[in-house]
Amino acid sequence: MSGTEQRPGRGLLLIELDGDGGHPAAWRKSRTAPVAVLGPARLRDTVLAAESAGFHAATFGDGAVPENGAVPENGAARLNALQRAAFVAPLTRSIALVPEVDTVYTEPFHVSTQLASLDYVSRGRAGWLVRASGSGAEAAAVGREPAGSARRTREAAASIEVGRRLWDTWEDDAVIKDVATGRYLDVDRLHYADFEGPDYSVKGPSIIPRPLQGPLPVLVPAGLLPPEALAGGAADAVLVSAPTPDLLAAELRDTAASLARANPPGTQPALIAELDIVLDARGQSAASRLAELDARAFWESPRARFVGTAAELTELLAGLLTEAAGVRLHPAVVDADLEELAQLVLPELRRRRLLAPATPDATFRELLGLPRPVSRYAAAGTAVVHFPASRAGN
């Protein structure tokens, strides 16, 4: 997806809404009492604020379990991301809801069911931000060995494949409610997933009908999946990071070029640029806000960081949106930076017709410009279900 192909009016803005903000000292500058950040009112208010500001998607980080010996701090206490997304689903209408869900220490069958359920409660606005944890603390929590990078890659690819297969195991019209024959289901339109991986196998079918979107959009960090997996359609969007905003544009171009080489034409995943932001706010310059925060805790982040005025950020985003389908913003302090974004940045980008309309009831796939495919098993044209021959008892 090169800059010249990017039509005006298609840019997407995503916002990460975890906790008080991306900066580990954000809680000290928050308008919300720390204890209230883990409550329903704060969650509802921030997501509604992001929706009315015109953001296309909210992401919900699941972050890391604190490593051994660490005392929980701001960044450590977290509500489960997928449930936060589910909680706000009935309260919102246009914003896509994209929780981060781990693939290494989780059960792929549960992950698939939970995400499909999120798609139902959000009426087609769910997505999956793939995480592959290598954390020792998370491994110890479930009594397993920490995963090295090769295993993380393998586990992420396997979990995505399980999810995609399970979402297809019910064809769209499997529920027939045929009173004449007494059948609620047409069994010929149900299929086993029969996933066999190096670490485990999953039988299927899913225990929930096909999600409203069919397969949910899958977002992965660049570098997590091997090129073959991306070429095989594992991800719908790739999150691209670079150390600085200048390098980000170059990184986007490089990533687009390598995806274009590896993927069949027209099947490249969308690119989403990752950007930390600190804006002038509350009568204080961005630089001095950041200095105050940094004096309390160091913000370690693999992402490019923008520190400046709303007008400067608008220019940067306008440029990035010519290279990427979207940008995901990580505000240093949600309360402070979201307000500036809503009042100054998004209205200007809209005025310049750089943003896709945030349409009520549009699905996340529609926002991403993705068609809704029929089930892979239906496309095969035959009943590929194989039934176990043996009826041996449980």
């Binding site: 969650l43 449930q83 059960e107 069911t113 670490d199 196998s201 021959a389 449980n394």
Partner: protein
């Protein structure tokens, strides 16, 4: 009715509570009626939950089955199938309800304690203290085929595993002292150090070493329900559960079950009133007794159609019986299997098939029942059904409240999404008039609304509550 003294210091509350169980996986939910709605749309769930809340129900339940039911080796086609993940749906319902408890049935065999406890804590915090976990232990290799964990546990091991699991979860929920998190951004530290403990378990089935990530909720921790009826299951409930989701709604049976649970609770060192009981039940009601009887016949005809009747027998015969007339006698041919393999995922256990077939044929002959009539009598939830006019049924329920045979009922509506309307509009006011049903929510948390005591807090500042449970199973 038997005179109902339950000793052991048990005191009936004189009150009943209601819960609603959305969609079991069985023939109970009628999908063939014109008014049958979607089983998956969020609006169906919202409608039932909000109606229940209007009727001051204590709890909204979701069941769980981790593999799609199968019949003769193929997915079972005749009943409602496919349902959302319980906690995901309940998290969504938390934002459109304010008082009703949100109960997730979750399995101990195919989950990790740290992950499950964390998700339940999330639901508890997002709902303002209304979450509960219905602990089930269902497992078999057939369900295990969907999981990384795979495999299964011996029946005998299930509750040992479940108990270690639940104790680990409780330790996770106990790990944060009250008021750990800073009350304002100007405090020096986000959390008070040394007031959060690691939770550890080292046992035969799994190990956990975890620093819990969430504080206590408004009700301290999620309420625990238990469903499982074996002696081991009952003892487990008596030791660990707040409420039993029982299978004993019929009055005499309910009283007997109450006595049994009181005895087991006392033996476990708990009080006679500590474990509440809410049996599964079905209500088919109308304005007059006559109408209610007609309605019941209509509901039954929709629940057990000719195909369901034949399929029911096929589970026991282990062969196709499509050529038999549903309105004729039971099949003369014998089952082809030794052990019955009932529709997988229905929660039944195997029995001797030939013996059962002989017994059933004799029974049907004697009563002059056709296949359809016979199956209907076997599956009618007969014991679990309250059928009659609103006043009749309300009168009958007075006896349950007076004796304390149960603390309430978990109602499975036979119709989605309107199946609670008549109960809330007509039965609830009758119960209130008789003084056996709340006229308002007692509080905002599920624990308050069920009248449960807050768990005893562990001593503040204890450094590490270690591996207490693991030793027993290592």
């Amino acid at each position: 009715m038997t005179e109902a003294n339950i000793d052991g210091g048990f005191r009936p509350s004189g009150q009943l509570q209601l819960g609603v169980f959305f969609q079991g996986v069985n023939s109970g939910t009628v999908w063939k009626a014109p008014e049958s709605g979607s089983q998956t749309d969020f609006e169906s769930f919202r409608r039932i939950a909000q109606t229940a809340e209007r009727g001051l129900f204590a709890a909204f339940f979701l069941g769980e089955g981790l593999r799609l039911r199968e019949h003769l080796g193929r997915p079972h086609a005749l009943d409602v199938a496919g349902r959302p993940d319980a906690q995901t749906m309940l998290a969504a319902l938390a934002s459109v309800t304010s008082h009703i408890g949100l109960v997730a049935t979750q399995n101990t065999t195919y989950n990790d304690p740290a992950d499950l406890a964390h998700r339940l804590s999330t639901l508890d915090l997002l709902s303002g203290g209304r979450a509960a976990w219905n602990v089930v232990t269902t497992d078999n290799a057939w369900t295990g085929a969907n999981f990384r964990r795979g495999g299964y546990l011996d029946h005998a091991d299930r509750y040992i595993h479940a108990e270690a699991f639940v104790e680990t979860a409780k330790r996770i929920w106990d790990a944060w002292d009250d008021g750990v998190i800073a009350a304002s951004p100007s405090e020096e530290a986000w959390a008070k150090p040394a007031s959060i403990r690691r939770a550890r378990h080292e046992g035969q089935h799994y190990s956990v070493d975890y620093l819990p990530r969430l504080p206590r909720s408004a009700q301290y921790r999620p309420v625990l329900f238990q469903a499982g009826d074996s002696p081991d299951g009952r003892d487990f409930a008596a030791r660990q559960a707040d409420v039993i989701f029982s299978a004993h709604p019929k009055f005499d049976d309910a009283l007997e079950f109450r006595r049994d649970i009181v005895a087991r609770s006392l033996k476990a060192g708990r009080g006679a009133n500590d474990v509440k009981i809410m049996p599964a039940s079905e209500f088919i009601l109308a304005a007059t007794p006559q109408e209610a009887r007609e309605k019941k016949a209509w509901v039954r005809s929709l629940q057990i159609g000719p195909q369901q009747a034949i399929a029911y027998l096929e589970q026991f015969w282990g062969r196709e019986l499509q050529d038999y007339d549903p309105d004729g006698p039971l099949p003369e041919i014998d089952p082809v299997v030794e052990e019955t393999s009932e529709t997988r995922g229905s929660g039944f256990h195997g029995a001797k098939a030939r013996q059962l077939a002989d017994q059933w044929r004799a029974e049907a002959n004697e009563k002059g029942l056709s296949i359809r009539q016979f199956v209907s009598s076997k599956t009618s939830r007969g014991d679990a059904t309250f059928n009659g006019s609103y006043t009749e049924v309300a009168d009958r329920l007075v006896e349950y409240a007076r004796t304390g045979a149960v603390d309430g009922f978990n109602i499975s509506p036979w119709l989605i999404p309107t199946g609670l309307d008549d109960i809330v509009n007509h039965l609830v006011p009758e119960l209130q008039e008789r003084g056996i049903y709340p006229t308002e929510y007692a509080g905002t948390t599920l624990r308050e609304n069920l009248g449960l005591a807050t768990p005893l807090r562990p001593a503040a500042g204890v450094a590490d509550n270690g591996v207490a449970v693991g030793g027993r199973h290592a």
